[in-house]
Symmetry: C2
């Protein structure tokens, strides 16, 4: 079968950069937060090799912002995550699992603290806006919640600092990891963070005026010519190598953050109050029943993981479920699997059952597969 | 440019029918409620002609159900919509706009009343689950909210009764419009409603066991051979002719239901309490500033409407925005436009500015363009 096309409509919103992305020959799209997200330009592997060597411009406008502003903004933001935000500083970006009353994951945004009473939740693929609005209305909180006209554009890859400095000046070099500065562009003051959904280094520019999308893209493009800039997008090979989990793929509303290895973002004994605290404490005290791990497995190629694949031990017992898989040019087949208790020790021998019926021998591994700089 | 493919991952969930849909050569996909929705099989026009003459099986599993169950289920369901549910009966399907505290639309589900304390909201494309959960938690309501394993399969077209009767017996013929019966299939008891997202008549089968997806599809397929059954999907030509608005396309969180012509689903003076009542009363009392209408316009072909198109009057004044447009074989170019006050009277002459820069002469029209049976 020929691969079905992405059928476009207003509902799957175009971004301020879609025209540029299409001019550069985007080959695949997905939909993320009701918006188009490119998935490939040349090929997955060519995009990967380029990302690891040069610098790319990514249309990640689908990382929509949920803005919480007002007297109760800090309180509501804290209620939504087990991460202790009490010492968060203005200018900081904080990765934060959001959970419900049962401790189940609803999203895993990066929270930007813009002011003591103003936050952006840069969200993964679920309508956090509705969750926040429902809570605020039910609890009669004094907070305004909306999706502002903010469309992140990412610059990722080892030459990111040089490209960004050419556009925004050397100030960008001083931005620390998961911090942001506010820098001028065409008369606007843009949030520019050292962050992004790769392990190759880079920035996210939070453009707050859709009409400047083309200008921002073109400016980066022109400045990037000496650095072999290319259009790119979150790359499946690179993200799996780097251990970057994806909400909706590797973590869902059926999982809690402790199962997802996000313990360090869950302060369960702090003085802060948040939804799901009792449930997460209970889960911690009893120990999780499953845990996300890497799995390396045999094969020169790897089909896409569209539904969870069974992972079994030598005796055929179901030991876990693989949720993302890819062929890495340097590591072979790798993927993420939610492993049951008793099977998650690194080195555990398993077989992976792909959709082609083949059983591939594999081994449980620590995450990430590749450490920064590795 | 070659049309980008729909890049698949677990996050854009497959349905219990995806294997069948692909075996029948689905040409396009979109994503709806984080799930795949087919958009074309042969061509838009061939699919349309077949739908209006025969019978089709549609994978609409992406119409996810938000189940509200428990002592406060009825109260919360009513809080979420201006439609008066006080006289709703078990076995009834109720189209219902959902609005926020400002009266802005968050979704427009069909509500199925399964029991006095159990409802399904068969939702359009937004995470109503999170809205309902946020409200319930904030208001400390006693209600369980979840997304059950329910995947609607639609049978649509003039021969639907015959096909359905061949599978479920003549009981289906007695089901009234927007009512459901509970009928047996392979040992399960399935909700079967006379409803669906076309004006050609038909049913929606709420399969509540994903493992039976292939069996249900195949059973309908075999029974449908005498009726020239085909794989289909919501058809853009048919839905625009019939005046079926789409949340995310023609109605968004920027609109209230009065602007969308949904007055008859908004009981603003009843005794029932719901979120947004004061706001909607105020909007009604002042009169809406814009109103959704049909527009007929010139042209032998019509590009897809991916961003709202300006609609102007003869003098060039912005008179509205077109949000969906299509070429109908029998009506020519037609579409939906949110028209500003002063320009929404049927017969108003306008020009429509498509993405190709062409200005097409047009006329404002009542909806629907085609009445049932017309």
């Amino acid at each position: 079968m020929t691969a079905p096309i992405m059928a476009a409509s207003r509902r799957t919103r175009r971004t301020p950069y879609s025209d540029r992305v299409e001019a550069h020959g985007v080959k695949g799209y997905t939909v993320y937060n009701h918006m188009l997200l490119p998935t490939a330009f040349r090929s997955l592997e060519e995009d990967y090799r380029h990302l690891c060597e040069h610098v790319q411009v990514w249309d990640v406008a689908c990382e929509r912002q949920v803005e919480l502003q007002g007297p109760d903004a800090a309180r509501l933001t804290q209620m939504m995550t087990p991460r202790d935000l009490s010492r968060a500083q203005i200018g900081q970006c904080l990765y934060a699992p959001l959970v419900d009353e049962a401790g189940r994951m609803l999203n895993d945004p990066v929270i930007l603290k813009l002011a003591e009473d103003r936050f952006w939740l840069s969200i993964a693929d679920s309508d956090v806006l509705l969750w926040a609005k429902g809570l605020a209305l039910g609890l009669r909180l004094d907070v305004r919640i909306d999706e502002p006209d903010v469309s992140p554009l990412a610059v990722q890859g080892p030459k990111s600092d040089d490209l960004m400095a050419a556009v925004f000046g050397d100030a960008v070099r001083a931005i620390k990891f998961f911090r942001f500065a506010v820098l001028p562009f065409r008369g606007r003051r843009l949030v520019v963070a050292r962050s992004g959904w790769s392990k190759q280094g880079g920035f996210e520019i939070y453009l707050d005026d859709s009409s400047l999308g083309g200008a921002l893209w073109d400016t980066l493009w022109e400045a990037g010519r000496p650095f072999d800039v290319a259009a790119g997008c979150p790359n499946l090979i690179e993200r799996v190598e780097g251990g970057l989990l994806s909400y909706g793929n590797d973590m869902t509303r059926e999982h809690n953050p402790l199962e997802c290895g996000l313990d360090r973002y869950c302060s369960l004994d702090g003085g802060h109050d948040f939804i799901g605290r009792a449930a997460l404490r209970d889960i911690r005290d009893h120990g999780v029943a499953r845990l996300i791990r890497g799995v390396r497995f045999e094969g020169e190629t790897c089909p896409p993981c569209l539904v969870p694949w069974p992972v079994r031990d030598a005796g055929g017992t179901l030991a876990g479920q693989m949720t993302t898989a890819v062929h890495s040019p340097r590591l072979g087949n790798i993927g993420f699997a939610m492993m049951e208790r008793g099977f998650w020790t690194p080195g555990q021998a398993v077989t992976v059952e792909g959709p082609d019926g083949k059983r591939r021998a594999g081994t449980v591994a620590e995450l990430p597969f590749v450490s920064p700089g590795g």
